[in-house]
């Protein structure tokens, strides 16, 4: 049986791992290559690097981080953040990334998903989506935001569920659903959002934003019907180890690679 994946996400800025609450108050959490190797030993199923550097001169630093990581970590590696073109994707894949995640560039130019999928295969093109609840509507709806990596975020006219469906049609092989409302709060994933997307798309869905305790991951997998869970703070600050989380989930009957 296919196991559910536990994925530590490392936000990288200028070659260092950072993690802020709701994208602010960045704190230094370490060297990305060391952390990736550490998580690999702990049993992480994949690693995600999210480059929150906006300037292109620092893109080279990210590429070097990816290369050094790929030299010593033998589990899948996804890189996202600031990728604008097929050429940007190619550079990261050749540096050793297995998948690339695009968000703002895909909203601005949806055809980029198709171009990437045709060139490298759907399995390496991930749509990273930042969604925020529309206040006071029932049933609930979520709007898609861009430019979240560099603070604040900008609203779009896209509906999160519709955008997810469209991205799959265009060729996305996986969708990372990040809740802006929940990100960094450690008060749980947005389960309704996950469920709404997971039940309408045919590709795997990765939950992101809000993990504070192992129960949160359990809910995202069971109630949110996610195929994988991404978490940052709880792992980086050692609140829970990956092994602890995996044992908790396995004991509750979730298929997990221990």
């Amino acid at each position: 049986m296919l196991t559910k994946r536990i994925i530590p996400c490392l936000d990288v800025k200028g070659g260092r791992v950072v993690k802020g609450v709701r994208y602010r108050d960045l704190q230094d959490a370490g060297d990305p290559v060391e952390l990736a190797a550490f998580y690999n030993e702990q049993g992480a199923d994949e690693i995600v690097f999210y480059d929150i550097t906006a300037s292109s001169d620092e893109r080279g630093i990210m590429q070097e981080v990816v290369e050094r990581t790929a030299d010593q970590v033998f589990i899948p590696l996804t890189v996202g953040g600031g990728l604008r073109t097929v050429e940007d994707m190619r550079r990261m894949l050749e540096s050793g990334a297995d998948k690339v995640s695009i968000n703002t560039a895909a909203v601005q130019n949806p055809h980029l998903i198709t171009e990437g999928a045709e060139r490298f295969g759907s399995q390496c093109i991930i749509l990273g989506m930042d969604a925020k609840r529309v206040p006071d509507v029932s049933p609930p709806r979520w709007g898609v935001f861009t430019h979240t990596g560099t603070g604040g975020g900008r609203p779009t006219n896209l509906d999160a569920v519709e955008w997810a469906v469209q991205a799959v049609t265009l060729g996305a092989g996986e969708i990372v659903v990040n809740s802006i409302d929940a990100d960094g709060t450690q008060s749980g994933y947005d389960i309704e959002l996950l469920h709404a997307i997971s039940t309408v798309v045919t590709v795997p869905v990765v939950a992101s934003g809000g993990a504070g305790a192992p129960e949160d991951l359990y809910q995202a997998l069971v109630e949110g019907k996610a195929d994988a869970v991404l978490a940052a703070s709880i792992f980086h600050y050692g609140t829970y180890s990956i092994q602890e989380v995996k044992k908790y989930l396995a004991a509750k009957g979730i298929p997990i690679r221990i």
Partner: protein
């Protein structure tokens, strides 16, 4: 020399890194003479089998790969490197493949998330030295939407469940091929490479 075929697919670096970790040197090539002169040949792959075949044809490598394998020399195929060994694939309409192993490459059944992406167990249906030191039902990393269906089921060494039971490891003489990515499967994956290379470098028949 361990020779890795470069036909423009993405994940070459991770294959090279995994083998380097085990202490072996590799040569990366897209040259027909290098393929024929190889002592050990590895065909990695991601993406679609049809595209891979188009690239191999463009580089005039299909003949040399066929020749190399029919000479009985050690060969490892990974993911699409497994699929192209078959008669043909249904991906994106019918595409002829190398036809070294009779059988078809078919789409995974609907009702599951596709691609099949993540860690899944490999059931060892045939005892084989490629599995040495690897417990039965060990998890390996898969990313694919199509699976191989060999006419001769005796070639199936490993099986995996995803909506159906499909062949995830093929062994045939000195040929080994996996649907999963050993270079992305942590310690167990490195062991697959190590087992294969130990057998191949010793000049022993893998089977």
């Amino acid at each position: 020399m361990i020779t890795i075929i470069d036909y423009g697919a993405g994940n070459l670096r991770s294959v090279v890194n995994a083998i380097a970790r085990l202490g072996y040197q590799t040569k990366i090539t897209s040259n027909a003479d290098d393929v024929l002169a190889a002592k050990v040949l590895i065909l990695p792959g991601v993406g679609a089998a049809g595209d891979t075949m188009a690239n191999l044809n463009r580089l005039q490598l299909t003949g040399p790969i066929n020749q190399y394998i029919s000479d009985g020399k050690p060969f490892l195929g990974i993911c699409v490197g497994l699929q192209v060994l078959f008669t043909g694939t249904e991906e994106g309409g019918w595409h002829d493949c190398l036809d070294i192993i009779p059988g078809k490459v078919r789409r995974l059944p609907d009702g599951q998330k596709i691609p099949h992406m993540g860690w899944n167990q490999v059931k060892q249906v045939t005892p084989h030295p490629i599995f040495e030191g690897i417990p039965d039902e060990t998890n390996f990393y898969f990313v694919h939407s199509y699976y191989v269906d060999p006419d001769d089921k005796a070639l199936v060494a490993g099986e995996t469940e995803y909506g159906i039971t499909f062949c995830s490891v093929i062994t045939h003489g000195n040929l080994v091929a996996t649907q999963f990515h050993p270079e992305r499967s942590g310690e167990a994956g490195l062991r697959i490479y190590n087992n294969f290379l130990k057998l191949a470098m010793a000049g022993k028949e893998v089977i």
